[in-house]
């Protein structure tokens, strides 16, 4: 078996990061540091994939972890290309771990995704991967079927990749014992390679290409039984591989040479090359190749009648086989998955805990809000109850005092009839009584919050003026803006304005001797203007303005924060003008 795809993959990786060969550890360290600080973006995904690639052959478990990490991150970022290469990396790691079934599963996902991304390179790559998978599973017909699709794509749109596509087909043909076809495609591959300028230099990529192609060629010759040509090309491949430290190819070359010498019964050379292969550092990460070398060694020693050494390498073969396929490996892998799963669970648990904590906070806040609201409602209700109680007390008191005052005024009326000599005194009593009644009525009215609408104020004013002026046979013309009725007043405004109005009307009724009184109330912007005009006898404003009668006006005006003026002259009627702001 020859890991075609691993090589394709290595190519991809090495072309990306040629630093690998020189200072791998330093690179890994710096990358690891970078990952911690990098923000979770597409760059980070690419870095992690690279890290997974680096670990692929030395520590496939870590490689798998990094690949999965990259996959999760890409999925979070919805970064399709990242998801693609992450799954490619997972599938590669699974290959190294010998888990071919899961490798196939991931490869299917890769193919599915490639249709979404839909670029020739990605499409070709995924189909090639699929072909490799079936090759690894020993299904060479299916492998060939997919390889032909790759060829189609590459011939149409990826001329630079053709050489490797053709070259890799040789493995499949060899496995199917079609050595002529293998040879044909390897030669085509060489033609393609020669046509690509960047593969004919003295650099890494060119040497890598030569190493791979010569190996393929050697294998094809070996298959056809042309051992000398095979030996020649194996050696050429070996030289190129060694130059660039391409250990995987080196191992394959050694194995190829060993197999050739074994075939030629040159058992010592076979053993020498096989030992070279098996002693390569990378052998542990490339168990398939190690298995091949150990197999050659075991049979070679058998032929040399050295059962001890043969047995030793037989054991190696078995142990490698075991490490590749046995349950322990599966369990180790499962354990790895489990650990991964555990890590995720831990993260989920932390999130859950955080959620719970926030939920608790939310509940506490809600509870506080509900308690607060309940408190406010209870307080409001209590205030309302208190208010109701106060109102009912005030009503009772009002009723009682009002009734009693009414009886006083009735009694003084009756007393007037019985003792005419006390009339002046009794008139004073009944006047005082009615004044108290009037004032009380005004206060009760002003305090009642139901009366804070302009309409109510206007109604009461109108009623009052009509009653007072009617008694004096004066006509009233009361007019007000309709726009005023929606306005609201504070209790203070209501009281002071009404009392001001009362004073003005009382004055007009008492002193003006007018025939008609005009009341005009209107609104300008947010100001209320009131004009009370009569056509009476008027007065000299200078003589009255500082008199006692003005004090009531001045007090009301001050409390209203209003402006007011009185214009009058003897014989020309009187106009009282008031102007104040409402909010």
């Amino acid at each position: 078996m020859n890991p075609v795809f691993v090589k394709i993959y290595c190519c991809f990786f090495f072309l990306q990061g040629s630093l690998y060969a020189q200072s791998q550890t330093r690179w890994i360290d710096s990358v690891k540091k970078a990952i911690v600080t990098q923000s979770a973006d597409t760059n980070k995904v690419n870095t992690i994939i690279s890290l997974s690639d680096v670990y692929r052959f030395t520590d496939p478990d870590s490689s798998l972890i990094y690949a999965r990490h990259a996959l999760t991150l890409s999925e979070k970022l919805n970064y399709n290309t990242g998801i693609f290469w992450s799954m490619v990396a997972i599938s590669g790691s699974l290959y190294i771990l010998g888990d071919y079934n899961n490798e196939l599963e991931y490869t299917f996902k890769v193919v599915e995704l490639s249709k979404k991304i839909n670029t020739p390179y990605i499409l070709g790559y995924s189909k090639g991967l699929l072909s490799d998978c079936y090759y690894n599973l020993g299904e060479y017909d299916t492998s060939m079927y997919y390889w032909r699709q790759v060829v189609n794509i590459a011939e149409r749109s990826l001329p630079d990749e053709l050489f490797s596509v053709y070259g890799n087909s040789s493995h499949i043909f060899e496995a199917m014992h079609e050595y002529d076809s293998a040879m044909h495609y390897v030669k085509k591959s060489i033609q393609c390679m020669n046509a690509i300028p960047w593969l004919n230099k003295d650099d890494y990529a060119s040497k890598w290409a030569r190493s791979s192609i010569f190996e393929n060629l050697a294998e094809a010759f070996a298959g056809k039984g042309l051992y000398d040509s095979a030996l020649f090309y194996y050696r050429k491949s070996l030289a190129s591989s060694a130059e660039i430290h391409m250990d995987l190819n080196e191992m394959d070359d050694y194995n190829g040479l060993a197999a050739l010498y074994k075939e030629k019964k040159n058992l010592d050379s076979a053993i020498w090359y096989a030992k070279k292969a098996i002693n390569k550092k990378i052998a542990k990460a490339y168990p398939v190749s190690m298995l091949k070398a150990a197999g050659i060694l075991a049979t070679s020693y058998e032929f040399k009648k050295k059962p001890d050494s043969s047995l030793k390498y037989f054991h190696v073969t078995i142990s490698v086989k075991d490490s590749l396929f046995n349950r322990q490996k599966t369990m180790a892998f499962q354990h790895l998955l489990f650990a991964e799963h555990e890590k995720q669970n831990e993260a989920a648990a932390t999130t859950l805990q955080l959620q719970r904590r926030y939920r608790t906070y939310l509940l506490i806040v809600l509870l506080l809000v509900v308690l607060g609201a309940a408190g406010i409602i209870i307080k409001n209700r209590r205030i309302k109850q208190m208010q109701q109680m106060r109102n009912s007390i005030a009503d009772d008191l009002h009723d009682d005092i009002g009734s009693t005052l009414s009886s006083i005024s009735i009694m003084s009326e009756l007393a007037k009839i019985k003792s005419p000599e006390a009339a002046s005194l009794l008139i004073a009593i009944s006047d005082s009584t009615s004044m108290i009644q009037e004032n009380m009525s005004d206060i009760v009215w002003a305090v009642n919050p139901n009366n804070d609408r302009f309409e109510n104020v206007l109604q009461r004013m109108n009623l009052f003026a009509a009653e007072i002026l009617d008694a004096k046979n004066m006509d009233l013309a009361f007019s007000s803006d309709a726009s005023l009725s929606a306005c609201r007043f504070t209790m203070k405004q209501r009281k002071n304005w009404y009392l001001f109005f009362k004073e003005a009307i009382n004055n007009a009724a008492k002193y003006s001797d007018a025939e008609k009184v005009f009341v005009d109330i209107c609104k300008k912007d947010n100001q209320v203007e009131m004009r009370i005009t009569d056509n009476g006898k008027g007065f000299n404003t200078a003589s009255v303005f500082n008199g006692n009668g003005m004090n009531t006006f001045k007090k009301r005006v001050k409390e209203l924060n209003a402006r007011f003026d009185i214009s009058s002259a003897n014989g020309e009627g009187t106009t009282v003008h008031l102007c104040f702001k409402i909010t």
Binding site: T404, S407, S430, L463, F478
Partner: protein, 212 residues
């Protein structure tokens, strides 16, 4: 013939004063003065008054309830409400129940006597605030209930509109070229329509609630 007046008033001093005032007034006699309206039917049967002076706020049966009972059992009796409160709702409710008019307790004694006379003669006082409520009520009545639809005449509407403006009966009389008595008669008619109106509404309500 003297006008027989019955008084319902919970304030003892005022009750006694009113009694004396009425007894002293010409052409009037107080045939009964009661501290509450809890046994109103018997009280009225004993006193047999022409006019009842009814306080609104009393312990037990309220003045408004008392008016409803009186209007049912003794429809010929005129009722004059008296109250210290100028709350339109209570006054309006009393009028809807069948009171002929109302006066405030702060009204002077002479005016009270005048009001009793007026009430006896079928007069009906109405103030601007009550006039507003009357207008509202007639405006809100739904035309769907046509069979019980009571509407005001043009003249009545005109008088109500003048009352809303705060005009006195005298001013209205001169504005409309009619006598004060005619204004009074119109207002009385308005009250009667209001009563029918509110009664029919009560009936409709009762039918709706399946009480009848």
């Amino acid at each position: 013939m003297e006008i027989k007046v019955a008084i319902f008033e919970d304030n003892k001093i005022l009750r006694q004063s009113l009694q004396q005032l009425i007894d002293n007034a010409e052409g009037m006699v107080c045939t009964g003065a009661f501290g509450d309206a809890n046994r109103i039917v018997r009280n009225i049967q004993l006193a047999a008054p022409d006019v009842v002076l009814m306080d609104i706020n009393m312990p037990g049966t309220s003045g408004i309830e008392a008016v409803q009972i009186l209007k049912e059992k003794f429809p010929q009796v005129q009722i004059l409400m008296q109250t210290v409160f100028e709350e339109n709702d209570k006054i309006f409710a009393a009028i809807c129940s069948g009171a002929s008019g109302y006066m405030l307790k702060k009204t002077g004694p002479q005016k009270m006597i005048e009001a009793i006379h007026e009430t006896y003669q079928g007069g009906a006082p109405m103030t601007a605030s009550v006039a507003v409520k009357v207008l509202q009520m007639f405006r809100l009545q739904s035309p769907a209930q046509k069979h019980e639809f009571v509407d005001l005449s043009e003249r009545e509407k005109e008088i109500l509109a003048l009352l809303v403006k705060g005009k006195s009966y005298k001013a209205i009389a001169s504005d409309c070229f009619i006598s004060i008595d005619t204004v009074s008669t119109h207002v009385r008619h308005i009250y009667e329509k209001l009563r029918v109106h509110s009664k029919s509404e009560a009936v409709a309500k009762a039918i709706n609630q399946k009480l009848v």
